[in-house]
């Protein structure tokens, strides 16, 4: 469980550290946003079906609904702007981290699954928020892309608080 949390955190940390060295362009930001959302949608779907506690299952359902809504808006926007998302070290790392997390979660059941999923969600949302604040929002050039990132930021704050509450109810 610890391994997955640490792995996720280190993978996501790349968003902040990579961009600290060099700011991503809008096409790269688009790829990072779409991948970050998709990773959480996939984990949410697994939690809906495999989670045990009602809170965990409904949190998974919420992640699927909210991140799907954000991704639809992101895809609509880049289509309108004629920007082709450009995969990069950060989006690749996010994707690999997401796949690793899913593989880890699929080996767990019951309370162990619930705890590992929620621990990962806390780490993931902390890191995405840091990336939004330190890198993605400041680097976005197109005003509509920047506005979309600003608009969805409170969702990540809410998800983080929600996940922390569930984490506390599961016993840390």
């Amino acid at each position: 469980m610890k391994t997955a949390g640490v792995f996720a955190a280190s993978a996501l940390l790349l968003i902040a550290t990579t961009a600290a060295a060099r700011s991503p362009n809008d096409a790269q930001i688009a790829a990072i946003v779409v991948t970050a959302n998709q990773v959480d949608i996939d984990a949410g779907k697994l939690a809906e079906s495999r989670g045990t506690k009602v809170d965990v299952k409904s949190f998974g359902r919420r992640m699927v609904a909210d991140h799907s809504g954000v991704n639809k808006a992101a895809v609509d926007l880049v289509t309108k702007l004629k920007v082709t998302p450009e995969s990069n070290a950060t989006s690749d790392s996010l994707k690999a981290g997401g796949e690793e997390n899913l593989a880890h979660l699929k080996g767990l059941t019951g309370a162990a699954f619930d705890k590992a999923y929620i621990d990962h969600e806390v780490a993931y949302h902390e890191q995405v928020l840091a990336a939004l604040d330190k890198t993605l929002i400041p680097s976005a050039k197109n005003p509509e892309l920047k506005a979309l990132l600003v608009k969805v930021r409170p969702a990540f704050v809410d998800h983080l608080e929600h996940a922390r509450k569930i984490q506390a109810s599961l016993g840390g």
Binding site: S68, G69, K151, V157, D158, E161
Partner: protein, 117 residues
């Protein structure tokens, strides 16, 4: 306090009588205002305005401008929109006076308050 209260009771019918005597034009001005419609935008996981004061009989329209569903659910159960999809809205006519704190059941950081005077 007692004297003041009883004084008010005596004066109030007198005021009504004056209004009635002043003719039909005056009576129209004093008629109860038409119920209003108020809009609360749901955007960026906040209710705008967060606190809304309305008169009994007014209608409130909550418009979901976010990219995913929300609910408008009174803490004490007076009203519940259930899920309002992205881009959709929900209306509620506030019949009873009172203070109604409400929340979105899907997002624990979202809170608002409706005051019906």
């Amino acid at each position: 306090m007692r004297a003041g209260a009883s004084g008010f009771k005596v004066l109030f019918p007198a005021a009504l009588a004056c209004a009635a005597l002043s003719g039909p034009m005056r009576v129209q001005v004093d008629a109860a205002p038409k119920p209003a419609v108020h809009e609360v935008a749901i955007e960026g996981l906040s209710f705008h305005p967060e606190t809304l004061v309305v008169a009994a009989g007014d209608t409130i329209l909550w418009v979901n401008k976010d990219l995913f569903p929300h609910t408008v659910t009174a803490d004490a159960g007076a009203f519940d929109s259930h899920e309002i999809a992205a881009g959709r809205s929900w209306r509620y006519t506030a019949a009873r006076k009172g203070t109604y704190p409400y929340r979105c059941t899907l997002h624990p950081t979202m809170h608002g308050e409706l005051r019906v005077k």
